[in-house]
């Protein structure tokens, strides 16, 4: 009986753990300040999977999202909190853009420079 429960629960817990996983390659720090988000430019390699670790020290909520074709879903980072956001760079080199902004307010743009894969 107990073994049956374990056999049933183990895959379920594994699936939940997998669904909760946020990890994804190298971590890149982004900081939201009151007037802007830094750094203004980021470097990634083509096809690279990275995790943006965004710390909000702005004194109010901030959002980060991809614009102009950059595939990054909108994420709200509450004031004083940190959020980990997975991002996969495109396979082509070039420049991608992230918008870091006050909800309903002004924004700053972070350029993501995608270089050739090594």
């Amino acid at each position: 009986m107990r073994r049956g429960i374990l056999l049933t629960a183990a895959p379920l817990l594994a699936a939940i753990a997998l669904a909760c996983t946020t990890g994804g390659g190298r971590e890149i720090a982004i900081t939201a300040e009151a007037t802007a988000c830094t750094p203004a430019t980021l470097e990634v390699r083509a096809g690279e999977k990275v995790t943006f670790v965004m710390l909000n020290k702005a004194g109010g909520d901030r959002e980060l999202e991809g614009i102009e074709g950059t595939k990054l879903e909108e994420v709200l980072v509450p004031d004083g909190r940190t959020r980990k956001i997975n991002y996969t760079a495109p396979k082509e080199t070039g420049t991608q853009k992230l918008k870091c902004y006050i909800p309903g307010g002004p924004s700053t743009i972070i350029e993501v420079r995608v270089s050739a894969a090594q």
């Binding site: 909760c20 946020t22 909520d61 879903e73 909800p103």
Partner: protein, 292 residues
Amino acid sequence: MLFSFLIILREGFEIALVLAIVLGYLRRTGNREHFRAVWTGAVAAGALCVAAGVALEATATELSGSAQEAFEGFTMLFAVTVLTWMVFWMRRQAATIGRELRHQVDIAIEHGSLMALVTLAFIAVLREGLETVLLLFAGASTQQNSTGLFLLGAAAGGLVAAALGYLVYRGSNVIPLRQFFTATGLVVLLIAAGLVSNGIAELQESGIIGNLGARPWDTDAFISQTTTLGKFLHTLIGYDSAPTWGQIILYWSYLVGGLGAFVLGLGTPTARRAPAPAQPLAAPSSPVEAEL
């Protein structure tokens, strides 16, 4: 995917039920030649609903930034109003809807009015169809999974709803209607409570209302909204890893109030009955239809 499946299953079955009752009644009264009129009304209403859905999506796509968030937020709160009304309306109507439909079909046949049958099917499908469009749009605004999965869930829900409708049409009594509408009603109220929280969050993010209080906790370390599980819970029950006090209070107020009223049966008529025809052309074909 589960969100679109549940919504289409519930709403689609309501549409299928209406059509099954009308078509089944026409079949038993030897009026199969009027099937075309019913299908004409149903298809026209379906086309109008698809057009409404496309217009809604196009409007949201045209907007950007805070205007888009405000549009989505207001749409979600409007969807909550419609959902709540629909759940309690369906419970109230469940006792009489079959008799009312058969009565209307009798009148249409007696007067030889095909247009009345077309209109009957058109209005019934349009009402449920527009609700479906609104709810799917509200859900699609919060879901961040692939569009393919969303559509797959909707298609699966539609197929199951159509199959259930066919069973009713064939006179089967294998579907416990009251239990079906009670169970799906509870699930719909849970989804609606999530839309309250998500709608308020969208309006906060748009800057229209500002944050409704502080964020008393943050569960992002346990279930991040950027993970598959977090997105799923966000769409289905309005999970927010760091909600504001306003979201929390409104969510629980709606959930407790809505579920309480539903479980206690508030708004259910005690003796209201629809006017029955003096001599119906045919009796209900099954216990399922008879109880409607």
